[in-house]
Structures are given as C-alpha cells and as structure tokens.
Point group: C2
Chain length 115, copies 2
Amino acid sequence: MSIKKKYNIRFRIWFYANEDKFLGKGRVELLERIKETGSITNAAKGMKMSYRQAWQMVNEMNESAPKIVVEKSLGGKGGGGATVTKAGEKAIQQFHEFENKVAQFIADESKKLKI
Amino acid sequence: MSIKKKYNIRFRIWFYANEDKFLGKGRVELLERIKETGSITNAAKGMKMSYRQAWQMVNEMNESAPKIVVEKSLGGKGGGGATVTKAGEKAIQQFHEFENKVAQFIADESKKLKI
DNA sequence: TTTCAATATGTTTTTAAAAGAATATTGATA
DNA sequence: TATCAATATTCTTTTAAAAACATATTGAAA
C-alpha cells in the first residue's frame, strides 16, 4: 500500500482593487452565469443565490473595479438585462489563469512535503 | 508618476487532514499563543476569542490531526494547562513555510501581470 | 480536606448575515 | 398607453455563528 499523506492543502485567492475585495471564486461564477444567461435574475437562479445578493455583488464589483464589469440595462424589451463587459471577461480570464498557476504551484510544493 | 496596478492579490491556505479542516491562520495563532502562555485560557484572552471557542478549536485539531497537537492537563497545581506537542510545533512551522512560499510565488507572478 | 486555577461542557443571549417578501421603476414594443 | 420582464430598492423575517453566562470537574499542594 502506498504512503498516505497526512495533510492536503487548499487555498483561495482574491483580487483586490485598492482595499476593496473585487473578485473571488463566487463572483467569478456569477459573472460567468450572467454572461451565459444575459441577466442577473437568471444567473442568480442558477446558483444558490438571491437576486438581491447577486445584484449587490454586481454593484460592488462595478464600484470597486477600475472599469465596469457588468453593463446593466433597465426596462424595454424583456425588461432589461445584464452583460459582461470586455473588462469583465478579461477579469474572469485573469482570475482563472492566476488560480490555476497557484493550484499548480501548491500541488508541486505539496509533493515535496514529507508530511 | 509610476503605473498603478489595478489589482492586488490576496490568498489564504488551509491544511486539511482527510476531509477535515485542520489548520488555518487563526488556529496557528492560537497554537502559538498556547505555546507562549501554557494554557488555553490565557491564549484565548490574548486574542479576540472566548475560552469556549479556543477549547473547541483545540479539540477539533487534536481529533483531525494525525497526531495530537496540544497536550492538555487537568487539575493540579495551577488548575492544569496546555502545551503544544512536537507534532504541533512542526505543523506550525510547516504552515508558515508553506504560506511564505505561496506568498512569494504570488508576489512574483503578480509582477508579471499587466493589470 | 480545602483551596485554586484551569479544563470541560451545557444553556442562553446577542449579533450579523443571509434570505425572503413586497413594491417601485424602467423603457422598448405592440 | 398598457404590457411585460428585468432591474432597483426598501423592509421584514429567518438563520447561523459567535458571544456570554453558568456550572461542574479535576488533581496537586498547602
């Protein structure tokens, strides 16, 4: 039988803009769902999140980010909707890239541990 | 004027033993204070933590860790006390080492980001 | 055998966060 | 100009986590 590791290591990363939390795992998922569905309402329905919370997250992101990440439209055909901006898509991509790099690093370093 | 970075990246790591959270930043601090003060009571007083919570953390750690990290003694001179075991000290050290490595990696990778 | 300070554990209260409910607003379009 | 679905916003309720409180237990030492 193989040697069983005592510990495994988990992590989370966050993007901050100045001192404001800007992006984490949950917010990235929300952005991705907004991109897919075209609205905050439907994005929130897909995850365990109330519209209220999703809307607040979007607002906080837009306020803290250097550029708006979600463009919202109000009224009109379909009642309105929300789309992820280029800046938003870039942020999503950067987050995933960074997270993957850290995951790889941690996996590699974990192997070196004699615990 | 220098270019101002849009984002800075923060992180947290946790040691897991099987599927149980074993060690994080807060628990490491608790262990260090137990080591300094020789008791859960005084360790808890030093941070914003109730004795009850500190005691529970210690128990969870001891239950999930492969080896006990805090040795408790009950009654007797001084009422008893708590000491960090060799395994506990090693865990503290490993945690700091790993955290520092990840911090260094993230700092380096952050520099490469054009955001 | 009483004292004492710390561990051990149960119960209640407070607090903060999330959820939920309710309602108003918007604007294209039919 | 009435409709409609989504955004926007306020208010209330629930829930979960933390804190606070209370009390029992332990065992060396005086």
